[in-house]
C-alpha cells in the first residue's frame, strides 16, 4: 500500500471538496426567498374572513380582550387577544389575536394536525384535545398567537368565535368594542377601506404567512 500517494490524493480531494462546499454553503444561507404575492392580493379563498382594526378609534379600554376571556374561558396562562401599547408617548395601541392566515405557519408545522383551516370562511381552528404540547407552533407563528398553558399542557388560541358565527352572532371581541375600532368581515371587502394595510412598522412582513387582517394605522 503506497501510503504517501493515498495521503496526497485525500488531501487534494479534501481541499477540492472544501472549496466546492464553501461555495455551496455561501450561496445557500438563504433558503427562503420570500417572493410571494403581497398580502394585499385577493385572498385565495373568496370567503376568507378577517378582523379589521382601526388604530384611530381604539381607546385602549381592553373590552375586546375581556369579552374574549369571558366567552372562551382562556386556559390558565393563555391570552387569545391582547391589547399592546407603544409608539410615541405610548399613545398607539394594537388589539390583536389570531390573523387566520392564508398560509398558517402553525398548521404547517403542527405534527399532530391540531390546526384546521375551515374551507367555509378560512378560520384557523386549533383543537386542544389532540394537541400534544410540543410548542413548535409557538416558534412558527410570527405573531406569537399560540399560547401554551402550563396548567393543561396544551396550546390555546383564538378561533374567531366560530361557534357564535355559525349561530349568526358576532365574535365576542367585536360585539363588545364600544368605539367600532374592531370589526370583522369578508377580507376582500375589508381591504377596500381607505388606508388599509397588513403590516405595522416593526412587525413581521405579511409575506411570511399572509395574515387575514386589515389595519388602519393612526394617521
Amino acid at each position: 500500500m503506497d501510503s504517501a500517494k493515498k495521503i496526497s490524493i485525500s488531501r487534494r480531494s479534501v481541499l477540492k471538496a472544501g472549496a466546492v462546499a464553501t461555495f455551496v454553503l455561501a450561496t445557500g444561507i438563504t433558503p427562503t426567498m420570500v417572493k410571494a404575492d403581497t398580502a394585499q392580493d385577493t385572498p385565495k379563498n373568496p370567503n376568507q374572513i378577517g378582523f379589521m382594526y382601526d388604530q384611530n378609534k381604539c381607546i385602549n379600554c381592553k373590552m375586546c380582550a375581556m369579552a374574549c376571556k369571558e366567552t372562551n374561558n382562556w386556559e390558565e396562562g393563555t391570552e387569545w387577544r391582547r391589547v399592546i401599547v407603544g409608539g410615541k408617548d405610548n399613545k398607539y395601541y394594537l388589539s390583536y389575536s389570531c390573523n387566520h392566515c392564508e398560509d398558517p405557519a402553525c398548521a404547517s408545522v403542527c405534527p399532530v394536525l391540531a390546526y384546521k383551516k375551515r374551507d367555509k370562511d378560512g378560520i384557523v381552528i386549533h383543537n386542544p384535545d389532540v394537541c400534544v404540547g410540543c410548542k413548535y407552533c409557538m416558534y412558527a407563528c410570527p405573531y406569537h398567537v399560540p399560547d401554551f398553558s402550563t396548567a393543561t399542557g396544551r396550546i390555546n388560541k383564538c378561533h374567531f368565535c366560530y361557534e357564535r358565527q355559525d349561530n349568526g352572532e358576532k365574535p365576542a371581541c367585536v360585539s363588545k368594542c364600544p368605539t367600532g375600532a374592531l370589526s370583522f368581515g369578508v377580507l376582500s371587502e375589508l381591504r377596500k377601506a381607505a388606508g388599509a394595510t397588513a403590516q405595522l412598522e416593526g412587525m413581521p412582513s405579511p409575506d411570511l404567512t399572509k395574515p387575514s387582517w386589515v389595519l388602519i394605522p393612526k394617521a
Binding site: 472544501g18 454553503l25 444561507i29 408545522v109 405534527p111 410540543c134 410570527p142 416593526g202
Partner: protein, 312 residues
C-alpha cells in the same frame, strides 16, 4: 420568548451524537478509518440507546407526554411537518440501530441493506435535528440551510469522539490508525469553515436585523463566553491543534530516529510522550462533546423571534 429549554437542547445533542456514533462504526466497518479499527463496534452499541434517551426527553418535554400519551400516536399524522418526519426517522433509526447492535454483539453478519439503511437513517437523524429549526421562518437565526449542515458536521465530530471514548474503555483489540485522527481533523476543519460562514453571514445581516441580533448575542453578547470558550476554543480549536499535531506526527514517522541519536533516554521520553498524547486525545474527545453540546444550547437560546411583540 423561549419555548424550548434544556430538554430540547439535550435531545438535539443526543440525536446528533447517536447518529454520528453509528456513522463512525459504519465508517470503521467499511475500513474508512484505517485497518482493523477499534471503532467497529462501540458506535453501534451506543447509537440507538443514545437517540432513544434523547427521544424520551423530548416526550417528557411535551405538554401531554405523561398526561395523555396516547395522543403521541398522532405525531405521525402531518406528513408536511418536519417534526413528523423526525418521528418516523428517529423511530426507524432506533429500531434498525438496535438490531444492528445486537447482531454486532452476537458476532453475526448483518445484512448489508440493514447496515446501509441504518447509515442513511443516521444521516437523516443528524440532518433532521437541524432541519427542524431551519424551516422556521419566524426565527431568522434558525432559518438557514446551513443549520442542518452545521448539525450534521457536529454530529459526525461528536459521534467520532464518543465512539473513540467508548472504545477506549471497551475494546482490548484493534488499533488506532492515524486515519482516525486524520478524518477527525478534516471534520473539525469543515465544521470551522461552516461556523465561520454561518456566523459571518448571520452577523452581516444576511437574514435581516433580527438574525444579526441573534448572532451578536452569541459572538459578543451574553452567550459570548459559551461561544468562544466552550464551542470555539474547546470544541473546535483544541481538536484542531491536537488532531493537527497528531497528523503532523503520523506524516513524519522516524523523524526522531533520523535527527536524534537513539539512546535509552530518548526512548523513555518518547514512550511517556506517547501515553501523554493518548490522554490528550481522550481529553480532546471530551472537549469535542462539550463543544457539540454548547452549539445546541447556543442555537436554542439565541433564537430571537422576527417580531419582539412590541408596538413601535
Amino acid at each position: 420568548m423561549h419555548h424550548w429549554h434544556w430538554l430540547i437542547v439535550i435531545y438535539l445533542f443526543l440525536g446528533g451524537l447517536g447518529a454520528g456514533a453509528y456513522l463512525t462504526s459504519f465508517a470503521a466497518e467499511k475500513g474508512w478509518l484505517g485497518k482493523n479499527s477499534r471503532l467497529k463496534r462501540a458506535g453501534y452499541y451506543i447509537a440507538a440507546p443514545v437517540v432513544a434517551i434523547g427521544t424520551a426527553l423530548l416526550v417528557l418535554d411535551l405538554g401531554q407526554g405523561l398526561y395523555k400519551p396516547w395522543l403521541l400516536f398522532r405525531l405521525l399524522f402531518n406528513l408536511g411537518s418536519v417534526m413528523t418526519w423526525g418521528v418516523y426517522i428517529l423511530s426507524l433509526f432506533i429500531i434498525i440501530g438496535l438490531i444492528k447492535a445486537f447482531l454486532v454483539f452476537k458476532n453475526k453478519t448483518a445484512p448489508s441493506w440493514l447496515t446501509w439503511a441504518g447509515a442513511v437513517l443516521a444521516l437523516a437523524t443528524g440532518a433532521y435535528t437541524g432541519l427542524l429549526l431551519a424551516v422556521v421562518k419566524a426565527i431568522p437565526f434558525w432559518n438557514s440551510f446551513l443549520m442542518p449542515v452545521l448539525f450534521v458536521a457536529s454530529a459526525l465530530s461528536t459521534g467520532l469522539s464518543v465512539t473513540a471514548l467508548t472504545a477506549h474503555f471497551l475494546e482490548k483489540e484493534g488499533s488506532t490508525d492515524a486515519t482516525e485522527g486524520k478524518v477527525h481533523l478534516a471534520l473539525v476543519i469543515v465544521e470551522i469553515v461552516i461556523v465561520a460562514i454561518f456566523f459571518g453571514m448571520m452577523a452581516a445581516g444576511a437574514k435581516g436585523p433580527v438574525g444579526a441580533e441573534s448572532a451578536s448575542l452569541v459572538i459578543s453578547g451574553k452567550y459570548a463566553i459559551v461561544f468562544w470558550g466552550y464551542f470555539i476554543a474547546l470544541g473546535l480549536l483544541l481538536p484542531l491543534v491536537v488532531f493537527g499535531l497528531e497528523y503532523q506526527r503520523a506524516k513524519q514517522p522516524g523523524r526522531q530516529v533520523v535527527t536524534e541519536p537513539a539512546s535509552l533516554g530518548t526512548e523513555i521520553t518518547t514512550t511517556a510522550e506517547g501515553s501523554q498524547q493518548s490522554y490528550l486525545v481522550l481529553v480532546t474527545d471530551l472537549a469535542v462533546l462539550v463543544g457539540g453540546f454548547a452549539l445546541r444550547a447556543l442555537v436554542i437560546f439565541a433564537a430571537l423571534p422576527i417580531w419582539d411583540g412590541k408596538l413601535l
